[in-house]
Amino acid sequence: MNISSLGSLVAEDTWQNQYSNTGRFALFFTVVVVAFVLLNIWRAEKGGRQGKDLYIRRIPGLNAIDEAVGRATEMGRPVVMVPGIPSNVDAIVMQALKIFAYVTRVAANFGNPILVCCAYAPVYTVATEMMRDVYQREGLGDKFDPDSVRFISDRQFAFAAGVSGLMLREQAAAVFLMGDFFAESLIFAETANGIGAIQVASSTQNTQTPFFIAACDYVLIGDEFYAASAYLTRQPVLVGSLIGQDWCKMVVGTLVFIGMALNGVQRGFLDRPTISSAMQDGHMKPLDKPHPIGKKETTMAYLFSPQSEPDLAGVNHRGKYPPEELPESDDKVTNWK
Protein backbone atom coordinates (compact mmCIF):
# COMPACT_ATOMS: atom_id res chain seq x y z
CA MET A 1 0.00 0.00 0.00
CA ASN A 2 1.62 3.23 -1.08
CA ILE A 3 1.22 6.57 0.62
CA SER A 4 -1.06 8.12 -1.99
CA SER A 5 -3.64 5.33 -1.80
CA LEU A 6 -3.39 5.33 1.98
CA GLY A 7 -4.07 9.04 1.87
CA SER A 8 -7.69 8.49 0.88
CA LEU A 9 -8.21 6.25 3.87
CA VAL A 10 -6.82 8.68 6.43
CA ALA A 11 -8.15 12.16 7.10
CA GLU A 12 -6.07 14.85 5.48
CA ASP A 13 -5.45 16.70 8.73
CA THR A 14 -4.15 13.49 10.36
CA TRP A 15 -1.54 13.09 7.65
CA GLN A 16 -0.48 16.69 7.97
CA ASN A 17 -0.15 16.42 11.72
CA GLN A 18 1.87 13.20 11.52
CA TYR A 19 4.38 14.54 9.07
CA SER A 20 4.44 17.98 10.63
CA ASN A 21 5.07 16.48 14.03
CA THR A 22 7.77 13.99 13.17
CA GLY A 23 9.00 15.71 10.06
CA ARG A 24 9.08 14.23 6.57
CA PHE A 25 12.83 14.54 6.60
CA ALA A 26 13.20 12.54 9.81
CA LEU A 27 11.16 9.68 8.36
CA PHE A 28 13.02 9.87 5.06
CA PHE A 29 16.40 9.78 6.82
CA THR A 30 15.33 6.77 8.90
CA VAL A 31 14.34 4.94 5.73
CA VAL A 32 17.69 5.86 4.14
CA VAL A 33 19.65 4.54 7.14
CA VAL A 34 17.71 1.29 7.12
CA ALA A 35 18.19 0.95 3.36
CA PHE A 36 21.96 1.52 3.62
CA VAL A 37 22.31 -1.10 6.34
CA LEU A 38 20.22 -3.72 4.54
CA LEU A 39 21.89 -3.04 1.19
CA ASN A 40 25.35 -3.51 2.64
CA ILE A 41 24.33 -6.65 4.49
CA TRP A 42 23.23 -8.04 1.13
CA ARG A 43 26.49 -6.91 -0.51
CA ALA A 44 28.59 -8.45 2.24
CA GLU A 45 26.71 -11.74 2.11
CA LYS A 46 27.16 -11.82 -1.66
CA GLY A 47 30.85 -10.97 -1.25
CA GLY A 48 31.21 -13.55 1.50
CA ARG A 49 29.90 -16.25 -0.77
CA GLN A 50 32.51 -15.12 -3.31
CA GLY A 51 35.24 -15.38 -0.69
CA LYS A 52 35.93 -11.65 -0.43
CA ASP A 53 36.93 -10.29 2.97
CA LEU A 54 36.02 -6.71 3.83
CA TYR A 55 38.47 -4.49 5.71
CA ILE A 56 37.92 -3.16 9.24
CA ARG A 57 40.63 -1.04 10.84
CA ARG A 58 42.49 -2.34 13.87
CA ILE A 59 40.79 -1.81 17.25
CA PRO A 60 43.39 -2.31 20.02
CA GLY A 61 40.85 -3.05 22.76
CA LEU A 62 39.48 -6.02 20.87
CA ASN A 63 42.90 -7.37 19.98
CA ALA A 64 43.59 -7.46 23.71
CA ILE A 65 40.75 -9.87 24.50
CA ASP A 66 42.73 -13.02 23.72
CA GLU A 67 45.72 -11.64 25.59
CA ALA A 68 43.58 -10.76 28.61
CA VAL A 69 41.90 -14.15 28.80
CA GLY A 70 45.23 -15.92 28.28
CA ARG A 71 46.76 -13.95 31.13
CA ALA A 72 43.83 -14.82 33.37
CA THR A 73 44.27 -18.50 32.54
CA GLU A 74 47.99 -18.40 33.37
CA MET A 75 47.26 -16.76 36.70
CA GLY A 76 44.37 -19.14 37.42
CA ARG A 77 42.04 -16.26 38.09
CA PRO A 78 38.57 -15.69 36.66
CA VAL A 79 37.40 -13.31 33.96
CA VAL A 80 34.71 -10.89 35.13
CA MET A 81 32.24 -9.41 32.64
CA VAL A 82 29.73 -6.67 33.43
CA PRO A 83 27.09 -5.71 30.82
CA GLY A 84 26.28 -2.43 32.52
CA ILE A 85 23.09 -1.28 34.19
CA PRO A 86 20.41 -1.38 31.50
CA SER A 87 16.80 -0.46 32.08
CA ASN A 88 15.66 -2.76 29.26
CA VAL A 89 16.95 -5.70 27.30
CA ASP A 90 17.87 -3.40 24.43
CA ALA A 91 20.31 -3.31 21.53
CA ILE A 92 23.11 -2.06 23.79
CA VAL A 93 22.98 -4.90 26.27
CA MET A 94 22.52 -7.45 23.49
CA GLN A 95 25.67 -6.13 21.83
CA ALA A 96 27.54 -6.35 25.15
CA LEU A 97 26.38 -9.94 25.60
CA LYS A 98 27.47 -10.84 22.09
CA ILE A 99 30.98 -9.57 22.86
CA PHE A 100 30.90 -11.47 26.15
CA ALA A 101 29.82 -14.59 24.25
CA TYR A 102 33.04 -14.32 22.26
CA VAL A 103 35.08 -13.81 25.46
CA THR A 104 33.31 -16.79 27.02
CA ARG A 105 34.15 -18.95 24.00
CA VAL A 106 37.85 -18.11 24.42
CA ALA A 107 37.69 -18.64 28.19
CA ALA A 108 35.80 -21.91 27.82
CA ASN A 109 38.42 -23.26 25.44
CA PHE A 110 41.15 -22.27 27.91
CA GLY A 111 39.18 -23.83 30.75
CA ASN A 112 39.10 -20.52 32.56
CA PRO A 113 36.19 -19.67 34.88
CA ILE A 114 33.97 -16.71 33.99
CA LEU A 115 31.73 -14.46 36.05
CA VAL A 116 28.98 -12.42 34.40
CA CYS A 117 27.40 -9.91 36.77
CA CYS A 118 23.94 -8.70 35.78
CA ALA A 119 22.02 -5.75 37.17
CA TYR A 120 18.71 -6.44 35.48
CA ALA A 121 16.80 -9.67 35.92
CA PRO A 122 15.76 -10.11 32.24
CA VAL A 123 19.38 -9.56 31.22
CA TYR A 124 20.40 -12.27 33.71
CA THR A 125 18.06 -14.77 32.03
CA VAL A 126 19.25 -13.86 28.51
CA ALA A 127 22.92 -13.92 29.60
CA THR A 128 22.53 -17.34 31.23
CA GLU A 129 21.07 -18.81 28.06
CA MET A 130 23.69 -17.19 25.81
CA MET A 131 26.64 -18.40 27.89
CA ARG A 132 25.15 -21.88 28.24
CA ASP A 133 24.70 -21.90 24.46
CA VAL A 134 28.38 -20.97 23.98
CA TYR A 135 29.59 -23.82 26.18
CA GLN A 136 27.32 -26.26 24.40
CA ARG A 137 28.51 -25.19 20.95
CA GLU A 138 32.11 -25.73 22.08
CA GLY A 139 31.18 -29.21 23.26
CA LEU A 140 31.72 -28.23 26.88
CA GLY A 141 28.12 -28.19 28.02
CA ASP A 142 28.84 -30.06 31.25
CA LYS A 143 31.52 -27.53 32.18
CA PHE A 144 29.06 -24.64 32.30
CA ASP A 145 28.41 -23.47 35.86
CA PRO A 146 25.00 -21.73 36.10
CA ASP A 147 26.30 -19.73 39.07
CA SER A 148 28.88 -18.10 36.83
CA VAL A 149 26.10 -15.82 35.57
CA ARG A 150 24.66 -13.92 38.51
CA PHE A 151 22.05 -11.36 39.23
CA ILE A 152 23.63 -9.06 41.81
CA SER A 153 21.15 -6.23 42.39
CA ASP A 154 19.15 -3.79 40.31
CA ARG A 155 20.05 -0.90 42.61
CA GLN A 156 22.94 1.04 41.09
CA PHE A 157 25.27 1.29 44.06
CA ALA A 158 24.29 -2.01 45.59
CA PHE A 159 25.32 -3.45 42.23
CA ALA A 160 28.55 -1.44 42.30
CA ALA A 161 29.35 -2.66 45.82
CA GLY A 162 28.50 -6.25 44.93
CA VAL A 163 30.58 -6.35 41.77
CA SER A 164 33.53 -4.56 43.39
CA GLY A 165 33.44 -7.03 46.26
CA LEU A 166 33.29 -9.91 43.81
CA MET A 167 36.30 -8.60 41.88
CA LEU A 168 38.30 -8.20 45.08
CA ARG A 169 37.37 -11.60 46.54
CA GLU A 170 37.84 -13.53 43.33
CA GLN A 171 40.94 -11.47 42.37
CA ALA A 172 39.83 -11.22 38.77
CA ALA A 173 42.66 -11.05 36.25
CA ALA A 174 40.63 -9.64 33.38
CA VAL A 175 37.62 -7.35 33.62
CA PHE A 176 35.34 -6.47 30.71
CA LEU A 177 33.01 -3.52 31.27
CA MET A 178 30.68 -3.00 28.33
CA GLY A 179 27.29 -1.41 27.91
CA ASP A 180 25.37 1.27 29.78
CA PHE A 181 27.44 2.50 32.68
CA PHE A 182 26.72 5.46 34.85
CA ALA A 183 28.36 6.82 37.98
CA GLU A 184 29.56 3.37 39.06
CA SER A 185 31.93 3.17 36.09
CA LEU A 186 34.83 4.71 37.98
CA ILE A 187 34.25 2.43 40.97
CA PHE A 188 34.57 -0.65 38.75
CA ALA A 189 37.53 0.71 36.85
CA GLU A 190 39.51 1.75 39.92
CA THR A 191 38.74 -1.46 41.80
CA ALA A 192 39.94 -3.53 38.86
CA ASN A 193 42.97 -1.29 38.56
CA GLY A 194 43.71 -1.77 42.23
CA ILE A 195 43.89 -5.57 41.88
CA GLY A 196 46.04 -5.34 38.76
CA ALA A 197 43.45 -6.71 36.34
CA ILE A 198 43.50 -5.96 32.63
CA GLN A 199 40.44 -3.89 31.80
CA VAL A 200 38.67 -3.51 28.49
CA ALA A 201 35.81 -1.06 28.76
CA SER A 202 33.18 0.69 26.71
CA SER A 203 30.27 2.83 27.76
CA THR A 204 27.48 4.03 25.51
CA GLN A 205 27.04 6.88 27.96
CA ASN A 206 29.51 9.45 26.65
CA THR A 207 29.71 11.06 30.05
CA GLN A 208 31.46 7.96 31.45
CA THR A 209 33.96 7.43 28.65
CA PRO A 210 36.46 9.92 30.14
CA PHE A 211 36.45 7.99 33.43
CA PHE A 212 37.18 4.75 31.60
CA ILE A 213 39.93 6.40 29.59
CA ALA A 214 41.56 7.67 32.80
CA ALA A 215 41.42 4.32 34.58
CA CYS A 216 41.24 1.44 32.08
CA ASP A 217 43.84 -0.18 29.84
CA TYR A 218 41.73 -0.35 26.70
CA VAL A 219 38.63 1.63 25.87
CA LEU A 220 36.26 1.25 22.96
CA ILE A 221 34.93 4.72 22.22
CA GLY A 222 31.50 5.24 20.74
CA ASP A 223 30.88 3.26 17.60
CA GLU A 224 33.78 0.86 18.21
CA PHE A 225 31.45 -0.87 20.67
CA TYR A 226 29.11 -1.80 17.84
CA ALA A 227 31.99 -2.62 15.53
CA ALA A 228 33.31 -5.15 18.05
CA SER A 229 31.11 -8.08 17.06
CA ALA A 230 31.88 -7.53 13.38
CA TYR A 231 35.58 -7.23 14.13
CA LEU A 232 35.74 -10.37 16.22
CA THR A 233 33.55 -12.71 14.20
CA ARG A 234 33.80 -11.28 10.65
CA GLN A 235 30.27 -12.48 9.93
CA PRO A 236 29.14 -10.94 6.61
CA VAL A 237 25.90 -9.65 8.17
CA LEU A 238 27.79 -7.74 10.83
CA VAL A 239 30.51 -6.42 8.56
CA GLY A 240 27.94 -5.33 5.99
CA SER A 241 25.93 -3.58 8.69
CA LEU A 242 29.08 -1.77 9.81
CA ILE A 243 29.72 -0.52 6.29
CA GLY A 244 26.11 0.62 6.02
CA GLN A 245 26.58 2.56 9.25
CA ASP A 246 29.68 4.19 7.82
CA TRP A 247 27.73 5.25 4.72
CA CYS A 248 25.14 6.87 7.02
CA LYS A 249 27.83 8.72 8.92
CA MET A 250 29.22 10.05 5.65
CA VAL A 251 25.76 11.29 4.71
CA VAL A 252 25.46 13.00 8.10
CA GLY A 253 28.86 14.61 7.66
CA THR A 254 27.89 15.84 4.21
CA LEU A 255 24.66 17.29 5.59
CA VAL A 256 26.65 19.11 8.28
CA PHE A 257 28.86 20.75 5.65
CA ILE A 258 25.91 21.58 3.42
CA GLY A 259 24.08 23.02 6.42
CA MET A 260 27.08 25.08 7.41
CA ALA A 261 27.42 26.52 3.93
CA LEU A 262 23.71 27.12 3.46
CA ASN A 263 23.30 28.76 6.84
CA GLY A 264 26.31 30.92 6.16
CA VAL A 265 24.86 32.10 2.85
CA GLN A 266 21.33 32.64 4.19
CA ARG A 267 22.34 34.38 7.39
CA GLY A 268 25.12 36.30 5.74
CA PHE A 269 28.77 36.23 6.70
CA LEU A 270 28.94 39.86 7.82
CA ASP A 271 25.46 41.35 8.08
CA ARG A 272 22.25 39.45 8.54
CA PRO A 273 19.86 39.90 5.61
CA THR A 274 16.27 41.01 6.28
CA ILE A 275 13.43 38.58 5.55
CA SER A 276 9.83 39.46 4.81
CA SER A 277 8.28 36.02 5.20
CA ALA A 278 8.81 33.15 7.61
CA MET A 279 7.31 29.77 8.54
CA GLN A 280 4.33 30.27 10.81
CA ASP A 281 2.05 27.42 11.87
CA GLY A 282 3.56 25.17 9.25
CA HIS A 283 3.18 27.56 6.29
CA MET A 284 5.35 30.31 4.81
CA LYS A 285 3.51 33.54 5.57
CA PRO A 286 4.43 37.18 5.05
CA LEU A 287 5.63 38.95 8.17
CA ASP A 288 3.94 42.06 9.56
CA LYS A 289 7.36 43.61 10.10
CA PRO A 290 10.39 42.38 8.12
CA HIS A 291 13.31 41.62 10.42
CA PRO A 292 16.88 40.28 10.22
CA ILE A 293 16.84 36.53 9.70
CA GLY A 294 17.00 34.53 12.93
CA LYS A 295 18.83 31.24 13.39
CA LYS A 296 15.53 29.33 13.41
CA GLU A 297 14.38 30.87 10.13
CA THR A 298 16.82 29.18 7.76
CA THR A 299 16.09 26.34 5.35
CA MET A 300 18.02 23.83 7.44
CA ALA A 301 16.17 24.89 10.60
CA TYR A 302 12.82 24.39 8.89
CA LEU A 303 13.98 21.03 7.56
CA PHE A 304 15.08 19.70 10.92
CA SER A 305 12.57 21.47 13.18
CA PRO A 306 9.21 21.06 11.53
CA GLN A 307 6.32 23.04 12.90
CA SER A 308 2.98 21.55 13.85
CA GLU A 309 -0.15 23.02 12.40
CA PRO A 310 -2.49 24.50 15.01
CA ASP A 311 -5.28 22.35 16.38
CA LEU A 312 -8.07 22.21 13.87
CA ALA A 313 -10.48 21.70 16.73
CA GLY A 314 -9.21 24.97 18.12
CA VAL A 315 -9.46 23.96 21.79
CA ASN A 316 -7.73 21.57 24.09
CA HIS A 317 -9.52 19.26 26.48
CA ARG A 318 -9.65 21.66 29.41
CA GLY A 319 -10.83 24.39 27.08
CA LYS A 320 -14.17 22.58 26.76
CA TYR A 321 -15.07 23.53 30.32
CA PRO A 322 -16.21 26.97 31.44
CA PRO A 323 -13.50 28.75 33.46
CA GLU A 324 -15.44 28.58 36.75
CA GLU A 325 -15.19 24.77 36.72
CA LEU A 326 -11.39 24.69 36.62
CA PRO A 327 -8.69 25.61 39.21
CA GLU A 328 -7.98 29.33 39.36
CA SER A 329 -4.93 31.00 37.98
CA ASP A 330 -3.53 33.65 40.28
CA ASP A 331 -0.85 34.85 37.92
CA LYS A 332 -0.88 36.62 34.62
CA VAL A 333 1.00 34.64 32.05
CA THR A 334 3.82 36.72 30.66
CA ASN A 335 4.12 36.71 26.92
CA TRP A 336 6.86 34.13 26.49
CA LYS A 337 8.15 32.26 23.50
Binding site: V10, V37, A91, R169, A214, G222, H317
Partner: protein, 301 residues
Amino acid sequence: MNGLNRILADTVPPPTFWNGVYGSGGLWLKIILAFLIVSVALVFLKDAGPRVRKYVVGGATFLAGAFYVFFYFYPTPLNRQPGEMPQNAGEAVSFWLDDAVPTVGQIANIVAAFLLGLGVYSVFTVHVKRVAKQSADWGFSVVLLLSFFLMVGLGYADWGMKRIAGPKLDDPSNWGIVNYGRSFLFDGLLQNMDAAMFSIISFYILSAAYRAFRIRSIEATILLGSAVIMMIGLLSGFEYGWNHVAHQLPTTGTYAMGELTKWLQDCFQTPSLRAIQWGLGIGTLAMGLRLWLSLEKQGAN
Protein backbone atom coordinates in the same frame (compact mmCIF):
# COMPACT_ATOMS: atom_id res chain seq x y z
CA MET B 1 -25.37 16.55 35.10
CA ASN B 2 -23.46 19.31 36.88
CA GLY B 3 -20.05 20.55 35.78
CA LEU B 4 -18.04 18.51 38.26
CA ASN B 5 -19.70 15.24 37.26
CA ARG B 6 -19.25 16.16 33.64
CA ILE B 7 -15.52 16.65 34.19
CA LEU B 8 -15.24 13.40 36.10
CA ALA B 9 -17.28 11.51 33.52
CA ASP B 10 -15.06 12.80 30.74
CA THR B 11 -11.86 11.72 32.48
CA VAL B 12 -12.85 8.03 32.57
CA PRO B 13 -11.22 6.52 29.48
CA PRO B 14 -13.71 4.78 27.22
CA PRO B 15 -13.33 1.02 26.73
CA THR B 16 -11.07 0.07 23.84
CA PHE B 17 -9.85 -3.16 22.32
CA TRP B 18 -7.12 -3.26 24.98
CA ASN B 19 -9.14 -2.76 28.15
CA GLY B 20 -12.58 -3.27 29.55
CA VAL B 21 -14.96 -1.88 32.13
CA TYR B 22 -13.85 -2.97 35.59
CA GLY B 23 -15.63 -6.13 36.69
CA SER B 24 -17.46 -6.55 33.38
CA GLY B 25 -17.93 -9.84 31.56
CA GLY B 26 -16.03 -8.49 28.56
CA LEU B 27 -12.93 -7.86 30.63
CA TRP B 28 -13.07 -11.31 32.21
CA LEU B 29 -13.50 -12.85 28.78
CA LYS B 30 -10.37 -11.06 27.54
CA ILE B 31 -8.38 -12.19 30.61
CA ILE B 32 -9.49 -15.83 30.25
CA LEU B 33 -8.83 -15.85 26.50
CA ALA B 34 -5.33 -14.40 26.97
CA PHE B 35 -4.58 -16.97 29.68
CA LEU B 36 -5.76 -19.83 27.46
CA ILE B 37 -3.76 -18.64 24.44
CA VAL B 38 -0.57 -18.28 26.49
CA SER B 39 -1.02 -21.68 28.18
CA VAL B 40 -1.49 -23.42 24.84
CA ALA B 41 1.52 -21.59 23.43
CA LEU B 42 3.67 -22.65 26.42
CA VAL B 43 2.69 -26.30 26.10
CA PHE B 44 3.35 -26.18 22.36
CA LEU B 45 6.75 -24.53 22.81
CA LYS B 46 7.80 -26.98 25.51
CA ASP B 47 7.30 -29.92 23.19
CA ALA B 48 8.52 -28.21 20.04
CA GLY B 49 11.95 -28.90 18.59
CA PRO B 50 14.73 -26.30 18.33
CA ARG B 51 13.92 -25.50 14.71
CA VAL B 52 10.29 -24.69 15.46
CA ARG B 53 11.32 -22.69 18.51
CA LYS B 54 13.72 -20.69 16.39
CA TYR B 55 10.91 -19.68 14.05
CA VAL B 56 8.52 -18.94 16.91
CA VAL B 57 11.10 -16.75 18.65
CA GLY B 58 11.90 -15.00 15.37
CA GLY B 59 8.22 -14.44 14.68
CA ALA B 60 7.52 -13.10 18.17
CA THR B 61 10.53 -10.78 17.92
CA PHE B 62 9.37 -9.52 14.56
CA LEU B 63 5.81 -8.85 15.77
CA ALA B 64 7.01 -7.06 18.89
CA GLY B 65 9.31 -4.79 16.88
CA ALA B 66 6.81 -4.34 14.06
CA PHE B 67 4.34 -2.69 16.41
CA TYR B 68 6.67 0.20 17.21
CA VAL B 69 7.90 0.49 13.62
CA PHE B 70 4.34 0.68 12.38
CA PHE B 71 3.47 3.14 15.17
CA TYR B 72 6.37 5.39 14.19
CA PHE B 73 5.53 5.51 10.50
CA TYR B 74 1.74 5.54 10.64
CA PRO B 75 0.02 8.92 11.01
CA THR B 76 -0.91 9.75 14.62
CA PRO B 77 -4.36 11.10 15.48
CA LEU B 78 -4.80 14.85 15.43
CA ASN B 79 -6.06 16.33 18.70
CA ARG B 80 -7.99 13.21 19.60
CA GLN B 81 -10.72 13.82 22.18
CA PRO B 82 -11.91 11.16 24.64
CA GLY B 83 -14.83 9.28 23.14
CA GLU B 84 -14.12 10.57 19.62
CA MET B 85 -14.97 8.15 16.81
CA PRO B 86 -12.59 7.65 13.85
CA GLN B 87 -13.63 9.32 10.61
CA ASN B 88 -12.55 6.46 8.34
CA ALA B 89 -10.76 3.11 8.27
CA GLY B 90 -7.30 4.61 8.19
CA GLU B 91 -8.01 6.77 11.22
CA ALA B 92 -9.50 3.75 12.98
CA VAL B 93 -6.10 2.04 12.62
CA SER B 94 -4.31 5.06 14.05
CA PHE B 95 -6.74 5.18 17.00
CA TRP B 96 -6.17 1.45 17.58
CA LEU B 97 -2.41 1.95 17.62
CA ASP B 98 -2.79 4.97 19.89
CA ASP B 99 -4.82 2.92 22.38
CA ALA B 100 -2.32 0.08 22.22
CA VAL B 101 0.79 2.09 23.18
CA PRO B 102 0.22 2.21 26.96
CA THR B 103 -0.81 -1.47 26.99
CA VAL B 104 2.23 -2.59 24.99
CA GLY B 105 4.42 -0.47 27.24
CA GLN B 106 3.00 -2.29 30.25
CA ILE B 107 3.98 -5.69 28.81
CA ALA B 108 7.66 -4.98 29.48
CA ASN B 109 6.79 -3.87 33.04
CA ILE B 110 4.95 -7.12 33.71
CA VAL B 111 7.68 -9.31 32.19
CA ALA B 112 10.34 -7.47 34.21
CA ALA B 113 8.36 -7.96 37.40
CA PHE B 114 8.18 -11.74 36.86
CA LEU B 115 11.80 -11.97 35.82
CA LEU B 116 12.82 -10.14 38.99
CA GLY B 117 11.70 -13.26 40.78
CA LEU B 118 14.20 -15.25 38.73
CA GLY B 119 16.91 -12.78 39.63
CA VAL B 120 16.12 -13.07 43.31
CA TYR B 121 16.25 -16.86 42.90
CA SER B 122 19.76 -16.47 41.49
CA VAL B 123 20.88 -14.43 44.50
CA PHE B 124 19.32 -17.00 46.81
CA THR B 125 20.90 -20.06 45.27
CA VAL B 126 24.37 -18.55 45.29
CA HIS B 127 24.26 -17.41 48.87
CA VAL B 128 22.31 -20.30 50.36
CA LYS B 129 24.84 -22.71 48.79
CA ARG B 130 27.62 -20.66 50.30
CA VAL B 131 26.08 -20.80 53.75
CA ALA B 132 25.34 -24.52 53.43
CA LYS B 133 28.91 -25.32 52.40
CA GLN B 134 30.36 -22.74 54.82
CA SER B 135 32.57 -21.40 52.04
CA ALA B 136 34.91 -18.48 52.56
CA ASP B 137 33.17 -15.36 53.92
CA TRP B 138 29.86 -17.24 54.32
CA GLY B 139 28.99 -14.93 57.20
CA PHE B 140 28.37 -12.13 54.69
CA SER B 141 25.93 -14.37 52.86
CA VAL B 142 24.02 -14.81 56.12
CA VAL B 143 23.93 -11.01 56.49
CA LEU B 144 22.61 -10.69 52.95
CA LEU B 145 19.85 -13.23 53.43
CA LEU B 146 18.81 -11.76 56.79
CA SER B 147 18.78 -8.22 55.35
CA PHE B 148 16.69 -9.43 52.43
CA PHE B 149 13.98 -10.96 54.60
CA LEU B 150 14.02 -8.09 57.07
CA MET B 151 13.64 -5.45 54.37
CA VAL B 152 10.87 -7.35 52.58
CA GLY B 153 9.01 -8.08 55.81
CA LEU B 154 9.25 -4.62 57.32
CA GLY B 155 8.66 -2.94 53.97
CA TYR B 156 5.44 -4.79 53.27
CA ALA B 157 4.24 -4.40 56.85
CA ASP B 158 4.88 -0.66 56.74
CA TRP B 159 3.14 -0.34 53.38
CA GLY B 160 0.14 -2.30 54.62
CA MET B 161 -0.12 -0.16 57.77
CA LYS B 162 0.01 3.03 55.70
CA ARG B 163 -2.77 1.83 53.43
CA ILE B 164 -4.97 1.17 56.45
CA ALA B 165 -4.04 4.13 58.66
CA GLY B 166 -3.71 6.62 55.80
CA PRO B 167 -2.06 10.05 56.15
CA LYS B 168 -1.86 9.64 59.95
CA LEU B 169 1.39 7.73 59.43
CA ASP B 170 2.95 10.63 57.49
CA ASP B 171 3.65 12.05 60.95
CA PRO B 172 6.58 10.17 62.60
CA SER B 173 5.08 10.73 66.07
CA ASN B 174 2.43 8.14 65.14
CA TRP B 175 4.92 5.48 64.13
CA GLY B 176 5.26 2.08 65.71
CA ILE B 177 8.23 -0.27 65.79
CA VAL B 178 7.51 -1.55 62.28
CA ASN B 179 7.52 1.96 60.80
CA TYR B 180 10.68 2.88 62.68
CA GLY B 181 12.28 -0.38 61.57
CA ARG B 182 11.50 0.25 57.93
CA SER B 183 12.66 3.87 58.20
CA PHE B 184 15.90 2.74 59.84
CA LEU B 185 16.61 0.17 57.14
CA PHE B 186 15.56 2.28 54.14
CA ASP B 187 16.26 5.90 55.09
CA GLY B 188 18.91 5.23 57.70
CA LEU B 189 20.91 2.42 56.11
CA LEU B 190 20.15 1.95 52.41
CA GLN B 191 19.95 5.60 51.39
CA ASN B 192 23.10 6.51 53.29
CA MET B 193 25.03 3.52 52.00
CA ASP B 194 23.97 4.58 48.50
CA ALA B 195 25.35 8.05 49.18
CA ALA B 196 28.52 6.60 50.71
CA MET B 197 29.19 4.42 47.66
CA PHE B 198 28.71 7.41 45.40
CA SER B 199 31.08 9.42 47.58
CA ILE B 200 33.83 6.82 47.07
CA ILE B 201 33.98 8.18 43.52
CA SER B 202 35.44 11.45 44.84
CA PHE B 203 38.49 9.61 46.17
CA TYR B 204 38.88 7.72 42.94
CA ILE B 205 38.57 10.95 40.95
CA LEU B 206 41.31 12.48 43.06
CA SER B 207 43.65 9.57 42.49
CA ALA B 208 42.70 9.33 38.80
CA ALA B 209 43.33 13.07 38.36
CA TYR B 210 46.73 12.72 40.02
CA ARG B 211 47.54 9.81 37.69
CA ALA B 212 46.02 10.97 34.41
CA PHE B 213 46.60 14.72 34.18
CA ARG B 214 50.30 14.80 33.37
CA ILE B 215 52.21 16.98 30.92
CA ARG B 216 53.50 13.98 28.97
CA SER B 217 52.73 15.22 25.46
CA ILE B 218 51.10 18.11 23.63
CA GLU B 219 47.72 16.38 23.66
CA ALA B 220 48.00 15.64 27.37
CA THR B 221 48.93 19.27 28.05
CA ILE B 222 45.87 20.50 26.13
CA LEU B 223 43.74 18.04 28.09
CA LEU B 224 45.21 19.29 31.35
CA GLY B 225 44.78 22.95 30.45
CA SER B 226 41.15 22.61 29.37
CA ALA B 227 40.31 20.49 32.43
CA VAL B 228 41.77 23.13 34.76
CA ILE B 229 39.78 25.89 33.02
CA MET B 230 36.56 23.89 33.32
CA MET B 231 37.24 23.15 37.00
CA ILE B 232 37.94 26.78 37.78
CA GLY B 233 34.72 27.71 35.95
CA LEU B 234 32.79 25.87 38.66
CA LEU B 235 34.18 28.14 41.39
CA SER B 236 31.75 31.03 41.76
CA GLY B 237 34.08 32.93 44.08
CA PHE B 238 37.08 32.68 41.77
CA GLU B 239 34.91 33.53 38.75
CA TYR B 240 33.59 36.62 40.52
CA GLY B 241 37.14 37.94 40.99
CA TRP B 242 38.33 36.83 37.55
CA ASN B 243 35.38 38.50 35.80
CA HIS B 244 36.01 41.70 37.70
CA VAL B 245 39.48 41.81 36.13
CA ALA B 246 38.31 40.57 32.72
CA HIS B 247 35.75 43.33 32.40
CA GLN B 248 38.42 45.95 33.02
CA LEU B 249 40.36 44.76 29.97
CA PRO B 250 39.88 46.49 26.62
CA THR B 251 38.37 43.25 25.24
CA THR B 252 35.33 43.92 27.47
CA GLY B 253 34.43 40.61 28.94
CA THR B 254 35.64 38.33 26.14
CA TYR B 255 37.91 36.58 28.62
CA ALA B 256 35.31 36.30 31.34
CA MET B 257 35.46 32.81 32.85
CA GLY B 258 31.95 32.00 31.64
CA GLU B 259 32.94 32.92 28.08
CA LEU B 260 36.04 30.71 28.20
CA THR B 261 34.20 27.68 29.54
CA LYS B 262 31.34 28.26 27.12
CA TRP B 263 33.81 28.42 24.22
CA LEU B 264 35.43 25.16 25.25
CA GLN B 265 32.04 23.52 25.64
CA ASP B 266 30.47 24.88 22.47
CA CYS B 267 33.43 24.56 20.15
CA PHE B 268 35.09 21.33 21.29
CA GLN B 269 33.19 19.32 23.83
CA THR B 270 29.68 19.47 22.39
CA PRO B 271 30.64 18.75 18.74
CA SER B 272 32.82 15.80 19.80
CA LEU B 273 30.09 14.38 21.97
CA ARG B 274 27.49 14.83 19.26
CA ALA B 275 29.73 13.11 16.70
CA ILE B 276 30.21 10.11 18.99
CA GLN B 277 26.50 10.16 19.76
CA TRP B 278 25.68 10.01 16.04
CA GLY B 279 27.83 6.95 15.62
CA LEU B 280 26.24 5.31 18.63
CA GLY B 281 22.75 6.21 17.47
CA ILE B 282 23.24 4.76 14.01
CA GLY B 283 24.91 1.71 15.53
CA THR B 284 21.97 1.21 17.88
CA LEU B 285 19.56 1.50 14.96
CA ALA B 286 21.52 -1.04 12.93
CA MET B 287 21.75 -3.43 15.87
CA GLY B 288 18.04 -3.05 16.54
CA LEU B 289 17.32 -3.72 12.89
CA ARG B 290 19.40 -6.91 12.93
CA LEU B 291 17.73 -8.12 16.09
CA TRP B 292 14.26 -7.30 14.79
CA LEU B 293 14.80 -9.11 11.50
CA SER B 294 16.69 -11.96 13.25
CA LEU B 295 19.67 -11.41 10.96
CA GLU B 296 22.18 -12.13 13.72
CA LYS B 297 23.62 -15.61 14.03
CA GLN B 298 23.43 -17.10 17.51
CA GLY B 299 26.49 -17.62 19.69
CA ALA B 300 30.00 -16.45 19.22
CA ASN B 301 30.93 -18.21 15.96
